[in-house]
Subunit: 297 residues, 4 copies
């Protein structure tokens, strides 16, 4: 069992810290919100008057804060973590911040001789309460291994993302996909309602197709990811159907900005001469448009 | 077993017709592509010289054509289906066309005393070969029931979508979602590669979150669909994370037009004062922006 | 002076027809709205009971209708124009419809031996009243010349767009630009207000830059249109500034979907390796992305 | 004539500094690019070894740098401007940076007792050479007046934007509009070429309409800015025409993401019940969608 400085007791940080206590660890907690601090103290934590005090004599310091500026201040600012942190301790930032901020912090810490890794979390505050978070660990193999007992208190799945900065990047990709998908899904559901469909019926159909199951494990593996763009469903036909849906939406006044943007991506793909390729060719086209090397001749 | 006029022997129509023959039905087929016709004739179908000839004395006529103009011509044009169709026969359009074209056709047929329904199909040409299509049936209970033996030859799942015009609408919603999602997924995967992530690792994470599993059955049922917008994950935070992802993408030159459009949907949601609501509130916001009545106070 | 059948007496058609009467022409008018018809009759027009009657013995027939389906019905439908139209008469469609509908109509009319051209109009209903419309003429030199006296009654500027179908295409391009620009302008003005600027000050600045004067006659002629992409203002810097504006907008909850889409176009341009080219290179990039041949090495 | 510390000798900074010398001012210049420094020294400037040295004994310090991080470092970092700046001197940041960075810097400088204003510039490097820049001044009346002699050397028009932080905000709005407009214009021009139009003809038409002249001084003043939304050109018709243009573009493979986004803004406006209002109502709708108070009942 370890002594852990825990900084940031918000909606996620509080249950995470509680689960570390339940796991038998000794916690020194800091937050500007004294009510949150007292909630932890009531469960056995010690209140620290500053990040520096939380870090003093701790084997681990965990930060769980709302943005990168705060993380930087807490670590490097006045009475910050680095003013007391032991060179043998491990600092774990579990916040979701900009990956370039993470890179800069890890580099600056390393230059000063400190050990830092990032480990942002997935899922919800309810999962945090149950100790069932998904941990996306970014650090050396040694750092990930060392932090594993803490992760096991807070989550039930740890993914080693492959090195420093990779954890926060996987998190950002995951959030990008789920957050944008939420908006796209809202477009489909609103159109469905506006044209008089029963949602359960629409759902029943979509739950058995890529509409509900996604493409990562259905249409992509056998086609674009396998280097095969012979058409199962042609770009030109997908483009046509998307146009029908948008036309319909525009007749019933359902704004579908994500779908409208998607149609232009198919249009771009057609402009590149891929109209008769499989619809999964949008991935290859977007790769090429981003300056990545073409994978499929 | 029935006599069926089948019109439209393309990538989907051909295996569908073949499966009807395998099911014991008698087919009269028409297509302008004589090679396709001969392929069916070799399996026991009769070649028809026109849609009219295919429809003559048939209990069912199935149309499977690439666009609405063709469907209309085949049915109502010179030597079209209606010039010979029996008033007791059932015409089933299985094409994917604009729902308003479907509505107009069904109305025009009904005015002339004919019985018509639509039944577009889901899944791929490979499923068509195996008789495993998903049939989205739009018609009266009686029509759907009457057509069921045919559907069972061509598909392994029939969804009664709730009335005339509803089948094609469910199909369009399903296609909208899957086609736009394909483009959005390409954005996430391209960014993932551009920032140096291992795709299998990113996939592993996403397969356990709404990024991979979608929102319809995960985040929505307990929140927005239940009328509860208290935040598990706040709009403001989702908006922030989406901004980080887009910033990152713009630094490595990965165009993400769908995600950029989605960010503005969150921004719109914030502009409506919903920043501290649950992220599933984008559905409610989009509903209201479309002029639908607010469901959640 | 000519005898003219005029069909379609809406917000635009009514003043156009009135100006033809003022110009000394003899009008036979048709509309389903009898009040509109009577307004013209009061000014000396004759009421026609059908498009056919309006076309009978007329040297010109003008159609000014809200959509292509109506134009087609009026011309080719029951009691339509072609049932009485003289082969020596000229049919002029001044409606704004889909260019492919125009193409089809002109071809069908030509096949039947009739002479038809299109001449959609620009500017507003107020200009229509004053006889100051802009006429975008699409037809042969002979057709345009023949129709010129009529155009001179309704407008004060006629542009010969270069052949059949070109008039409606110029109109659609012009409308595309002005309609989309209206939305983009609204984004800039709303952001301006949201961040506390005085609109007159912002306007004063923009009226002297491409923001207010456009690019067609300012930044483009000396650069991309002249084949020169050496940077006066680099793509990378334009992309950066656009990002700042969008970030600001997202902080004050101003949705800017057009600008967000534009940023991704710059991103696409960067992905193609044009980051250090002049900002006018977006035109060349979009041309290439559309499959047009590169003009600039 | 004044002694001026000038920091940042890039494509814009170099000609600006040269024009200050031509105007009779004494310059101490700093840049990490020694070639740029020597070019100024050859014209009579003194080379400074650091920002601090450039600021020492100067009445004005001008910064013209590529991003906000650099501006902050040059001002507040080691050997930065503030280490030597006189409390009576005026620091003028002419860079284009994020307005919130400007706000923070001005506040921090003010807290330390220094006087700082911002004055970003408009137009191109060629205008910079000719001393014809547009200066967007953000500061107190006194600061703007004091800096005016310097502005008059570098530009031929100074706009007092109304206070600290307002200059950079006007600049960002202006750049937003011109940069996004560039992309939108490219869409119109590419479509024009793809459908076979002569560009000069299209230009001739657009130069006389809001497509080329913009909306700020044409359609808006008499309608939405005057509180009048009675339709000269209805939202529903503008929406229809935009749909035609996008359909056409999608048939010839011209991606038009800005226009596609704009269509959804009109759709949103229709969803709010404004379909029969004047097209300038998109401004009012976007204002309301941003949480600003409705101006028009």
């Amino acid at each position: 069992m370890s002594t852990i400085g825990f900084i940031g007791l918000g909606q996620m940080g509080t249950p995470m810290a509680l689960n570390l206590i339940k796991g038998g660890h000794t916690l020194k907690v800091f937050d500007i919100n004294q009510a949150a601090v007292q909630q932890l103290v009531a469960q056995g934590a010690t209140a620290a008057a500053s990040p520096a005090e939380a870090a003093l004599d701790s084997e681990f310091v965990v930060t769980m804060l709302p943005n990168g500026t705060l993380v930087k201040n807490v670590i490097l600012g006045e009475n910050g973590v680095t003013s007391t942190l032991d060179k043998n301790a491990l600092l774990i930032d579990m916040s979701t911040i900009h990956p370039l901020e993470t890179d800069n912090l890890i580099k600056e810490m390393s230059d000063k001789g400190f050990s830092m890794m990032e480990a942002p979390v997935g899922r919800t505050s309810e999962h945090a309460v149950r100790g069932e978070l998904l941990i996306m660990a970014g650090g050396t193999k040694e750092q990930v291994e060392r932090a594993k007992p803490l992760f096991d208190c807070m989550g039930n799945e740890t993914v080693d993302c492959g090195g420093a900065g990779k954890g926060i990047r996987v998190k950002i990709i995951n959030n990008y996909m789920s957050i944008a998908l939420n908006a796209l899904s809202a477009e489909a559901a609103t159109l469905s309602e506006a044209i008089g469909l029963d949602w359960d019926t629409a759902m029943k159909v979509m739950s058995g197709t890529p509409a509900g199951k996604g493409h990562f494990t259905t249409t992509w593996p056998g086609k674009v990811l396998a280097g095969d763009l012979s058409p199962v469903f042609m770009i030109d036909l997908a483009h046509k159907d998307l146009g029908i849906a948008l036309d319909l939406a525009n007749q019933v006044n359902v704004p579908m900005p994500c779908g409208a943007a998607a149609r232009e991506v198919y249009n771009l793909t057609r402009g590149a001469g891929r109209g008769r390729q499989d619809w999964t060719a949008v991935l290859e086209q977007l790769r090429v448009s981003s300056g990545l090397e073409a994978k499929i001749k």
